[in-house]
């Protein structure tokens, strides 16, 4: 059987993780091709609804990454983001949706190697968990209903 190749989207801040991922490139460190990076100015800009949109549109996993605490380019965006993620994780857990498909990390502009590790670990993890079929079923039922209504 062919190996399952998960789709991941990474929401990263411009100043730390995006720059860190640039450094991964400059350092020519190889990592899995499964992740697509989306640049935000700051983790504080990342709306939790974008994460659920990613899942609704076929992502098997989402990486959210930004500056380490105290290192935010805007001082406190990552602190606000952290509270948002803590709340989001708590909600998902209570709703029976294991937040394991969302990988949160702090990757600084100097941590090119860490970025490669985070990507590879995340891809491995999601590959093990498998495709997000539960969510895709929800999406499918939505499409069917819409077709029926329309």
């Amino acid at each position: 059987m062919e190996q399952f190749e998960p789709k991941l989207v990474a929401f990263v801040c411009n100043w730390c993780t995006y720059a860190g991922a640039d450094l991964t490139g400059t350092s020519r460190i190889k990592y899995a091709t499964n992740v697509r990076i989306i640049r935000f100015p700051c983790t504080g800009r990342i709306d939790f609804m974008l994460i659920s949109k990613a899942f609704a549109n076929g992502a098997d996993g989402v990486i959210v990454s930004g500056c380490h605490p105290n290192d935010c380019h805007y001082t406190s965006g990552n602190f606000h983001a952290r509270r948002r993620w803590m709340s989001y994780n708590a909600m998902l857990t209570f709703m029976g949706m294991d937040p394991e498909r969302i990988i949160f990390s702090w990757v600084s502009a100097a941590e090119g190697a860490k970025w490669a590790d985070i990507v590879n670990q995340s891809v491995d993890k999601i590959r093990k968990i498998g495709p997000f079929t539960e969510y895709q079923k929800l999406v499918q039922s939505g499409i069917e209903e819409e077709n029926f209504n329309g």
């Binding site: 190749e5 998960p6 789709k7 989207v9 411009n14 100043w15 730390c16 995006y18 720059a19 991922a21 640039d22 450094l23 991964t24 490139g25 400059t26 020519r28 460190i29 190889k30 990592y31 091709t33 499964n34 697509r36 990076i37 989306i38 640049r39 935000f40 100015p41 700051c42 504080g44 800009r45 990342i46 709306d47 939790f48 974008l50 949109k53 990613a54 549109n57 076929g58 992502a59 105290n70 290192d71 935010c72 380019h73 805007y74 001082t75 406190s76 965006g77 606000h80 983001a81 948002r84 600084s108 502009a109 100097a110 941590e111 490669a116």
Partner: protein
Amino acid sequence: MSRIGVFVCHCGENISATVDVAKVADDASRLPGVVHSVDYKYMCSDPGQTLVKDAIKEHNLTGVVVAACSPRMHEPTFRKACATAGLNPYLSEMANVREHCSWVHDKSEQTTQKAFDVVRAMISKVSNNGALEPIKVPVTKRALVVGGGVAGIQAALDIANCGHQVVLVERSPSIGGHMAQLSETFPTLDCSQCILTPRMVEVAQHPNITLYTYSEIESVDGFIGNFKVKIRKKARNLDEELCTGCGLCTTKCPQKKIPSEFEQGLGFRPAIYTPFPQAVPNKPIIDHDNCTYYKSGKCKICEIVCPTKAIRFEQEDTILDIEIGAIVLATGFDIKRSDFFPEYGKGKYKDVIDGLQFERLASASGPTQGMIRRPSDGQIPKKIVFIACAGSRDPAKGIEYCSKICCMYTAKHAMLYKHKVHDGEAHVFYMDIRAGGKMYEEFVRRAIVEDHVNYTRGRVSTIYELDGKLIVKGADTLLGAQAVEIEADMVVLATAGIANEGSEELAQKMHVSYDQHKFFAEAHPKLKPVETNTGGIFLAGACQTTRDIPDSVSMASGAAVKVAALFSSDLLTREPIVARVNRIPGPSHSTCVGCFLCQPVCPYQAIEREEIKDRAGNVIKSLARINEGLCQGCGTCVALCRSKSIDLLGYTDNQMHSEVLSVLEEAFV
């Protein structure tokens, strides 16, 4: 309908070696909204940019996607190209297919597919881009230089000589930094203080420089051109206007045996002191921890003897608020001390000293008047072992990097020793001799050939004391790792240079990045070595990595030019990446309901309250408004706003939403 042009770059072979660029361009040409799609060897080159400009005109493009390197690299290039061709620069986006794709993946279908997915996502984003106009903000033409070592001094002088105001802040009681502590400097062996002190005096006397010594940065708010800095001026316990610097207080102080920081603990100072005779300013401070009066409430001898009655025991720290346009960080470095090395006695052998201590021993103004005497008994050592790379290039010690200055100063130390103790023996253990620099290699050669310094390639595994001698055990790797044992009278460790104490906290106050060793991070390792990622904050000297005097000075001048360039115009053009609260026709005026939960979230206090009034002047609605001069575009308020009433220009909900949807479309992986 959008008319998007897609430009896929080969970057020589950097992208095309692993990504099928022609296929990406071809596939992109079939995407909805794309009217032009090409690939080219070097998009950033002149002909490459012309390709973009011509296409904008020829195809009447409404958006441009350049698939090339990181936008952190060339976004401004292509925005400028668009602008010259008459397209609003913010209608262009870059797809990062180099750093995030071709360089991190092998050549494969997946790599090409990934590149295409990223291009498609950016096409989708750019279709939702809007034309934006840059924001103009005024510039405060006053620079802040943090750190008064040679780099800070140079930067301050250069900026001041360009006709701009400079505030120089130094946390110790005098400017001068480590360079003031050095005896002679390589490769010319000229006296360090002789060349530095005139510069120090120039700083003190320069009409454009305001000097705050014994002061620290309390906080930094604001942004490029418009920083608001709080400086804590610590109490010197002195009326600085009255003090003439006669030094009578320091000679009469009953506390005389306090280890001197300036002398690296090898000499003593009183409780009221100036760190060294040439200190600038030449005004003492009182060390509360060791002052008899602060400890017991009695003494006050300094107050009694002071001829101008300048002592102020009750003086408190003052906080100064200063508006600043640009900042140069020149906070320098520190070195590991001998207690960092368990194998070399963990600091308990008095005669195992570090490089800065040797500088003080060799200095004519030092505790031994320039005679090389060992700290334990004051004897002149007949045999000294110098150990280079003590801590540096040693991953086991957490310091992988080369400290860069030690090879040269070790050669200098050995040479100075031989010049002072003619019958002495100098041994150097080294890993490699790194003497890159004008006259550097020649200098090391001179130490070996003319001054007969014995160089042994190898590391020292252990040092222990035996009968008043230090037994140094090492290996000579050029003789097949043959064991070497030297009975030395003194050992000098060329310990690793490290980030200065407090650099992490300062970086956090300044919102600049730092590397894993807590050195401040430059914006680009090659092309922006003096800039930081934070606009308006520049780096000079060893706070970025350990470096020698000529390097520090040239970097300081570089930073000064950056500041002068920033100050060359009255208005600063800022990226229009700012948040905005939506406005709709009355009676709602905005979907904002004025809950103002966004206010505490904003790090820049940029969210104001706007009141909408009816004709009679009654307030009918309060809603949030973003001050575009203060907003830095983090977007934290945008994600917080429940009613989606705030959006971030350049990263709007529509843009981000479409990017997420489109990056996940169809074929993937």
